[in-house]
């Protein structure tokens, strides 16, 4: 794939939560990545590793006790320093579309899908007038493959897959160049997961009105199978840091990832070894000085007492060497 100019460029993004008693929780530390148009970057990691906080930081949706540092450039705009007025009026929905974790909770329960689409269309586009809004709403539904005969239903009358499409339709209304999907497949069964990620992929590849380059998609997930199906690149997050950033084909295929944590995650899959990584992730409020994974790592040595820097796309003192003997290939 030819490298396109990035839609989102994140540099040194850190988020600290100030807790009562002066405690500080390092939810995200020094995150650095780019997402280009027509590209999907999957951010994977265990629950509680800081993935969703990172998404919240990009949309300015963190609670008041959060402090952010670094830069997240979306075009000329730095999302981290933009004020609430800018975020509300030009960013959310217009520059960044959010596909939420739980569509059932994201939709308004007392209104039909049609009325929610019409409201979003009216708020984000120049369409005015009852008939025009109605047809624009139907067009928006069609883009996300939401069936027209279900538009007059309330969210509780929709299956999980259809609710997901309704939420995706809302996220697409503003023609945002960046889509942010936060665990879009949690709780769906495998067929629905496949269908949902295929649809998201279609919106990345097929630009409708975005000028030919496609959209950029940052998908946050713990579902490795979904990530494998959709992503061009994989960022692995552990204890608030991105520890590996690599091509999806390398990650899931051969030679496989280089960070011991990434390898452990893959080994835990039931289609591979089905063996957990020993221990549990460290507390984000009480991280060790050095490598946060060292306590669970079978390759750890004295060197791991120092923080590993990101070099050659992996942050580890003892990464698996490249090229690795082909054992990571899977059925």
């Amino acid at each position: 794939m030819t490298r396109r100019s990035p839609v989102l460029s994140v540099r040194g993004l850190s988020v600290r939560f100030l807790m009562p008693g002066g405690r500080r929780v390092a939810a995200v530390t020094d995150a650095r990545f780019e997402v280009a148009a027509g590209e999907c970057l999957a951010l994977i990691g265990e629950s509680g590793c800081g993935k969703s906080v990172l998404a919240g930081a990009l949309l300015g949706l963190l609670p008041a006790n959060a402090q952010t540092a670094g830069h997240a450039h979306l075009g000329d705009l730095d999302l981290l320093t933009a004020d609430e007025r800018t975020l509300a009026r030009t960013v959310r929905g217009r520059l960044v579309g959010l596909v939420p974790q739980s569509p059932a909770a994201h939709l308004t329960p007392v209104r039909t899908v049609r009325s929610q689409l019409a409201e979003t269309v009216a708020a984000l586009t120049g369409v005015r007038g009852r008939a025009a809004l109605r047809s624009a709403g139907e067009a928006a539904a069609a883009r996300a493959a939401f069936p027209a005969d279900h538009l007059d239903r309330h969210p509780h009358q929709l299956s999980g897959g259809l609710a997901q499409r309704a939420a995706t339709a809302l996220a697409l209304v503003g023609d945002a160049p960046l889509l942010l999907a936060d665990e879009p497949t949690t709780g769906l069964d495998r067929d629905l997961v496949d269908r949902t990620v295929d649809e998201l992929r279609r919106h990345v590849d097929a630009p409708d009105g975005a000028g030919g380059a496609g959209r950029a998609l940052l998908m946050i997930t713990h579902d490795l199978a979904a990530a494998e199906r959709i992503a061009d690149r994989i960022a692995v997050m552990y204890a608030g840091r991105i520890v590996e950033l690599t091509d999806a084909s390398t990650f899931f295929g051969s030679p496989g990832p280089r960070h011991p944590y990434s390898r452990g995650l893959l080994r835990a899959l039931p289609e591979r070894d089905f063996s957990p990584i020993p221990g549990m992730p460290p507390e984000l409020g009480d991280l060790p000085e050095g490598c946060a994974f060292a306590a669970r790592c079978d390759r750890a040595t004295g060197a791991c007492a120092a923080l590993p820097q990101m070099t050659d796309r992996v942050a580890c003192h003892h990464p698996y060497p490249h090229p690795y003997p082909a054992e990571g290939s899977h059925a």
Binding site: R190, L192, P276
Partner: protein, 230 residues
């Protein structure tokens, strides 16, 4: 034996979610029940866990036919079944510390004095560190809370364990760890397992055999039909 005999169950007698479902679990056996979202497999899991009264059919636990359900179920039947739900957040009281979440079945059964020792033992078995036990659910991750919910299900040493999509919300490593904890418990006690889920690979790897929702391979005359998904 845990026997589900031609169970018909649902929330409206006119349109049951589960029709004539039969399944027999031998002691120590692990069976995976596979089905798509919304097909009624969770309803069936609730029946097997004595939490939902079926419209027709019988649940027979170790030779005793269950006649009363939920809190009316006789104690000796109730404590012979442990259950772990999909959503740990919804199944743990947000006001309790994890140690109390785990100890609740012991307290409810008048075995409060055993609690301290048993909680420490269970926490170790599911991989919870002592500092986590003093926290409340909002202070721990989904994976840590689900570990506590599994410990709670094991607190009374049930002979049967029902896991309804236990790992659907969890990352691969935590899922493998929880399955490992269940299997360690079963190896030590010989408990039977009904694992309900939609992940073919996971259940195939985990269980002795898997039953597909919609197939009639349960060796009984019952027919498995699925209300919403045909």
């Amino acid at each position: 034996m845990l026997e589900l005999r031609t169970i018909t169950a649902g929330y409206d007698r006119r349109s049951p979610v589960v029709r004539d479902f039969s399944l027999i679990l031998a002691p120590g056996e692990s069976v995976g029940l596979l089905g798509p979202s919304g097909c009624g497999k969770s309803t069936l899991a609730r029946v097997a866990a004595l939490l939902h009264r079926p419209d027709a059919g019988a649940l027979v636990l170790d030779g005793t036919t269950v006649r009363r359900w939920r809190h009316r179920a006789p104690r000796e039947l109730r404590i012979s079944v442990g259950v772990v739900f999909q959503q740990a957040r919804l199944s743990a009281d947000p006001r309790l510390r994890l140690a109390d979440v785990i100890a609740e079945p012991l307290r409810a059964n008048g075995r409060r004095e055993e609690a301290a020792g048993r909680v420490a033992e269970l926490a170790e078995a599911v991989g919870l560190t002592p500092d986590l036990l003093t926290r409340r659910p909002h202070e721990v991750s989904d994976g840590q809370l689900q570990r506590a919910c599994l410990a709670r299900a094991l607190a009374l040493r049930p002979r049967w364990l029902i896991c309804d999509e236990m790992t659907a919300m969890l990352d691969a490593s935590t899922a493998a760890a929880l399955v490992g904890a269940v299997e360690d418990y079963r190896t030590a006690t010989g408990a039977g397992l009904l694992a309900v889920g939609h992940d073919r690979t996971l259940l195939g790897r985990w269980c002795d055999r898997t039953v597909h929702w919609g197939d009639n391979e349960t060796g009984s005359s019952g027919k498995v039909t699925c209300g919403r998904c045909g």
